[in-house]
């Protein structure tokens, strides 16, 4: 596996003779001034005068929050947006061929009303576009398993994709002999080779499987190898790793780099995750509310953002826990700079004329002449004044904070789990979702729980709250056995232990007002009259920084961040001492994530709450938690203090893999660690250590104990606990 990227400006030569053009700057895809509108009147401008270039053999990132129009931009080029044919302006060329037809007479578009409707995609152009799709441009999507037709096998999908390649003989055995030009390989052989190419070693076996029988990571690899079938020039990857686990994601990103090197493929990666973009793309475009606001060499842009929006995006990524300006209430895209309502530079500028410019005119791309890379530009009227701002803060979350929980032993234990065990059965198969989990959560502290999907984190949370039965074990809350409580005692306890859920939409009853939802928690408390109830509701709303007037609204009138605040208020209204947070921010945008996290932090200091914080996002957990536990396939494999929770500090090989896989802003040397780990799918191995098929220690030593029994958690110096046969305390 190659670690380093091919330096800019060098021609890429692949093994099978695809030669990229001399300069990556000689762009393969060039988009100029593209606008795309959605829907019927009133039309919504999803993409606003965007320009984009992708060179040959280049990996380009496109980043922005959800709703910034990044997917619409890419899919609009291919005629794949909903409501096709839509309305658009601008030009786009792929390798010299026009992607969009000339505009004809569509011009009249004013105040959301089209004056002259022009039907853009005529049939001729549709045919032309169809020629390109799957041949010159290939696309992969966010949900790999849903992208495969459940009725066809992987092999049938591959054959279908191969049929798009004119050089491959058709799958039809009666096809003309003339077609069997290239080599003597059958399509199946070609397909199998391609599958092996993307790291699917067991390709022959995989050929006959249906999509529901393979994992998400495998499905995404199948999608990629299908994309490679017709040897495309450009691969558009729309959030390719968002639905995947971190370890799978790391391997996938590595694969992209490898494919670029081998096939000379140009790749456009669309993502909301700066870590992903940072890790593999050489250049980046930043989108905000339909406009491309900044572009440049990735490292330049991320280290020294020119546009205030980019800076704030990096801020929220790198410095969770600081207060951010809330997003603007007004979603209208007017004239002028779309970012100005949130923009520091605009708000703090005393010069009214300068501010007027922001309000009336959309900023042009400003070339940044004093920079090394000539294509770098940013769309901001304040170009000269824009500070390279927060570059220092971007680089690292300050390590200067005092280490927490230095005297871990003295703190009183609030919640304790002892030997929690739960077996799930699906038809004939059954597996342990929780296997002898024991841990304790001290008062006023945060216990972070990390792990990939299927590791049993959520099951643990629900079992702890007595919302799901368990097979064995006990949960102690302040010395009381939670699972043996009934009736009134249970209801009293439920006021003390509350829970936050991942999807606020599911929790808030859409038919009830916010005040009704909150007041529900007070129902079982005695001596609360209407006035008191009203006061408590207002108080809870204020605690989560919402205006008490929100109480009269319905959940559908709130943004996703506000909804999650309401769920927090719903928990706080009973004045709890302990809060289980099950992925509370996973479904939220980055900026809102940081707001919620900072709110949770404030509440902890203000009210002395204890948290069990569950997340798959290591960066988040590290910000909040004092102790972190790592789960794998129902086992707690390691527990460490937060200051030891780094690639070098952790001891269990799985924890290290997890940490090394997380896309990171400032450490690219992690790839060396990843190279030790074999490229295999996670499996639920019964008997022995479940991690052994992916464990470098086991694969090199082949210790018999690893196959026979699951290692127990053993105490290490510094208050850590690790479950591994091969690591000895001391």
């Amino acid at each position: 596996m190659k670690d380093d990227k091919v330096p800019e400006g060098q021609p890429n030569r692949s093994a099978d003779g695809v030669v990229a053009k001399d300069s990556p700057r000689d762009s393969l895809l060039s988009v100029r001034d593209l606008c795309i509108w959605f829907g019927g009147p009133p039309y919504l401008r999803a993409v606003n005068h965007a320009s984009l270039d992708i060179g040959h053999g280049e990996i380009v990132g496109l980043i922005g929050q959800s709703g910034s129009g990044k997917t619409t931009l890419a899919m609009g080029l291919l005629g794949l947006v909903k409501g096709f044919p839509g309305l658009w302006q601008g030009t786009a060329q792929l390798d010299g061929k026009a992607l969009l037809p000339p505009l004809g007479d569509f011009v009249g578009f004013k105040e959301g009303v089209v004056h002259k409707k022009y039907i853009p995609f005529q049939n001729a152009h549709r045919r032309q576009l169809k020629e390109l799709l799957g041949r010159d441009v290939a696309t992969i999507f966010q949900e790999p398993k849903a992208s495969l037709d459940p009725f066809y096998t992987v092999g049938e999908h591959m054959l279908e994709a191969l049929a798009r390649n004119r050089n491959v003989p058709s799958g039809d055995p009666h096809g003309s002999a003339a077609k069997r030009g290239v080599g003597s390989e059958t399509p199946k052989q070609i397909g199998v080779t391609l599958l092996k190419d993307v790291g699917l070693v067991d390709a022959e076996n995989l050929w006959g499987l249906y999509p529901h029988e393979i994992s998400g990571g495998m499905a995404q690899r199948v999608m990629i190898s299908m994309a490679l079938c017709a040897k495309p020039k450009l691969l558009i990857a729309d959030e390719p790793s968002t639905s995947l686990d971190v370890t799978t994601q790391a391997k996938l990103l590595d694969l992209f780099v490898r494919l670029r090197d081998k096939h000379g493929l140009s790749i456009l990666i669309i993502s909301h995750d700066i870590g992903v973009i940072r890790e593999i793309s050489s250049r980046v475009y930043v989108m905000h509310r339909g406009s491309v606001v900044e572009s440049g060499v990735t490292e330049e842009v991320l280290a020294r953002p020119k546009h205030p929006y980019t800076a704030s995006l990096l801020d929220s990524f790198s410095r969770f826990g600081e207060k951010l300006v809330p997003p603007p209430p007004n979603p209208e895209l007017g004239e002028g700079c779309a970012y100005r309502e949130m923009c520091r530079l605009y708000r703090d500028n005393p010069d009214a004329g300068q501010r007027g410019l922001c309000e009336t005119r959309k900023p042009e791309a400003q070339k940044l002449v004093n920079e090394s890379a000539k294509t770098d530009w940013a769309c901001c009227h304040f170009e000269n004044q824009s500070k390279s701002g927060n570059s220092s803060s971007v680089v690292a979350r300050s390590n200067s904070e005092p280490p927490k929980d230095q005297v871990g032993g003295e703190v009183e234990t609030l919640v304790e789990l002892r030997g929690l065990r739960r077996r799930f059965s699906q038809g004939s198969r059954s597996f342990l979702a929780l296997n002898d989990i024991s841990l304790s959560i001290p008062k006023g502290k945060t216990y972070g729980l990390v792990g990939e999907s299927g590791s049993g984190k959520s099951t643990l949370a629900l079992s702890l709250m007595a919302l799901q039965p368990i097979d064995a074990g006990s949960v102690l809350y302040g010395g009381k056995d939670v699972l043996s409580l009934h009736g009134k005692d249970m209801r009293v306890l439920r006021r003390d232990m509350r829970m936050l859920f991942q999807h606020p939409e599911g929790v808030l009853n859409s038919g009830m007002t916010i005040a009704d939802i909150l007041a529900e928690g007070l129902e079982r408390e005695r001596g609360i009259d209407a006035a008191e109830r009203k006061r408590r509701v207002a108080e809870a709303l204020e605690q989560v920084r919402l205006d008490p007037s929100h109480g009269a609204r319905y959940p559908s009138n709130l943004s996703s961040g506000e909804k999650q605040r309401v769920t927090i208020a719903r928990a706080l209204i009973t004045k709890p001492a302990f809060l289980v947070c099950d992925e509370p921010v996973a479904s939220l945008d980055l900026a809102i994530q940081s707001q919620i996290i900072s709110l949770l932090k404030d509440l902890q200091t203000g009210m002395g709450l204890s948290y069990l914080f569950i997340s798959h996002n290591l960066a988040l957990v590290k910000i909040l938690a004092d102790r972190i536990g790592v789960m794998y396939m129902g086992y707690l494999v390691e527990e460490a203090r937060v200051e030891h929770f780094s690639v070098d500090g952790v001891r269990h090989p799985y924890s290290r893999l997890l940490l090394a896989s997380a896309p990171s802003l400032h450490d690219l040397g992690l790839k060396k660690i990843l190279a030790d780990y074999p490229d295999v799918e996670p499996e639920r191995l019964e008997g022995g250590c479940p991690f052994r098929n992916r464990c470098p220690l086991y694969l090199s030593n082949r210790l018999a104990a690893c196959e026979k029994e699951m290692p127990a958690l053993r105490d290490f110096k510094g208050g850590e606990r690790v479950a591994c046969h091969q690591i000895q305390p001391g």
Partner: protein, 361 residues
């Protein structure tokens, strides 16, 4: 409602359907409640001076009457003027197509000889002017017994509205709790309810009702209760599926986390705030269904029995009069049936579209 708000209301999905449906349903409900006040004649009153009087709406008559029918009518009127009764009844049971035999066979077939007898004994010899003034008071004409069609239609409305309520009571009264119960507890309970549902669903509804009619003394309210029972599966499956979706959203777990009792979760969260709309939609759709079945059963002589009036048995009793020229006896009940069903159907469907829109489906 101001005109602007009305416009906004109509713009949303299902707006026109809701408006049209609500209008028809209101008219139907008014007819049921106020009934007798609307017409000069009661439904059981026989106006022997005006047997088979045509509707007094001239344009409608010109529009709808076939030339042949016109000819018969003219002859009837001529006959009435001369003091003779032209429309002779042909009796017999099996000649559905009897009017094919020729003009003289063009009569009205009725199951009850009683009406015919009344016609036979009606005093002959109304003068021309008298007939005309009389006809004016029957806006939709009269049937073969001289009963006012308008009064019959209004009486029929009552007899399809009230049995419909019985159907709804049974279908929703059992279906909704069953659905909530099955959806909430899942597992074995869901399976038992599912088995019950699939057993009922594997028999044609109308045939199952016939079996019940066969076994019991036919009574329309009883029959409609059975119809309600056959609709329980539909309601309970719908509700159970919705409850399952809600519980997948984390709904039930969250409510339990807030220490609510099962009854409260079921009633408040799952029914009142989430499935109240479905209740009204199903109410409307089931009303449509029950009007359809009630009229059909009455047509098959198993539903409302004469002398009680139902739109279905008006049509049954007037069989084929359409082709003999007395179109109004068949036409107006048919229109009433279609409009009533359409009204409830539109109302339910429009509300459903709006619910889907609100829920972002």
């Amino acid at each position: 409602m101001s005109s602007r708000r009305l416009r906004i209301f109509l713009k949303q999905p299902g707006g026109y359907r809701i408006l049209a449906g609500a209008f028809i349903v209101t008219v139907l409900a008014l007819a049921t409640l106020t009934g007798r006040a609307w017409t000069e004649f009661g439904p059981e009153e026989m106006d022997l001076q005006a047997l088979l009087a045509p509707p007094s709406i001239g344009w409608l008559r010109a529009l709808l009457t076939t030339p042949e029918g016109l000819r018969i009518q003219q002859r009837n009127e001529a006959g009435r003027r001369e003091g003779n009764r032209t429309p002779r009844a042909t009796s017999g049971d099996d000649e559905n197509l009897d009017f094919l035999k020729g003009d003289d066979g063009a009569g009205v077939r009725g199951r009850s000889g009683e009406g015919m007898a009344a016609a036979e004994t009606s005093p002959p010899g109304n003068g021309d002017p008298a007939a005309d003034t009389k006809a004016r008071t029957h806006p939709l004409g009269t049937d073969k017994n001289g009963r006012d069609m308008t009064a019959l239609l209004i009486a029929g409305a009552r007899n399809c509205f009230l049995p419909g309520l019985v159907t709804c009571l049974v279908a929703l009264g059992f279906g909704v709790p069953l659905g909530l119960w099955a959806g909430y507890y899942g597992g074995r309970i869901r399976k038992i309810v599912g088995t019950f549902n699939s057993t009922i669903l594997s028999m044609p509804r109308l045939v199952l009702i016939l079996v019940v009619i066969c076994a019991l003394e036919p009574n329309v309210y009883y029959t409609m209760g059975v119809l309600g029972a056959t609709l329980i599966p539909r309601v309970s499956e719908l509700i159970a599926t919705r409850v399952r979706i809600l519980s997948n959203m984390g709904f039930i777990v969250a409510a339990k986390e807030a220490a609510l009792s099962d009854i409260k979760i079921l009633w408040r969260h799952l029914f009142w705030y989430q499935n109240r709309a479905v209740f009204f939609i199903q109410f409307s759709l089931i009303m449509a269904e029950s009007i359809l079945v009630e009229t059909t059963l009455s047509y098959l002589q198993f539903g409302t029995k004469p002398p009680e009036v139902s739109w279905g048995n008006i049509i049954e009793g007037s069989q084929m009069s359409f082709f003999s020229g007395f179109y109004w006896i068949t036409f107006f009940p048919a229109v009433a049936i279609i409009l009533a069903i359409l009204g409830f159907f539109y109302l339910g469907d429009g509300l459903n579209a709006r619910l889907a829109y609100r829920e972002g489906r």
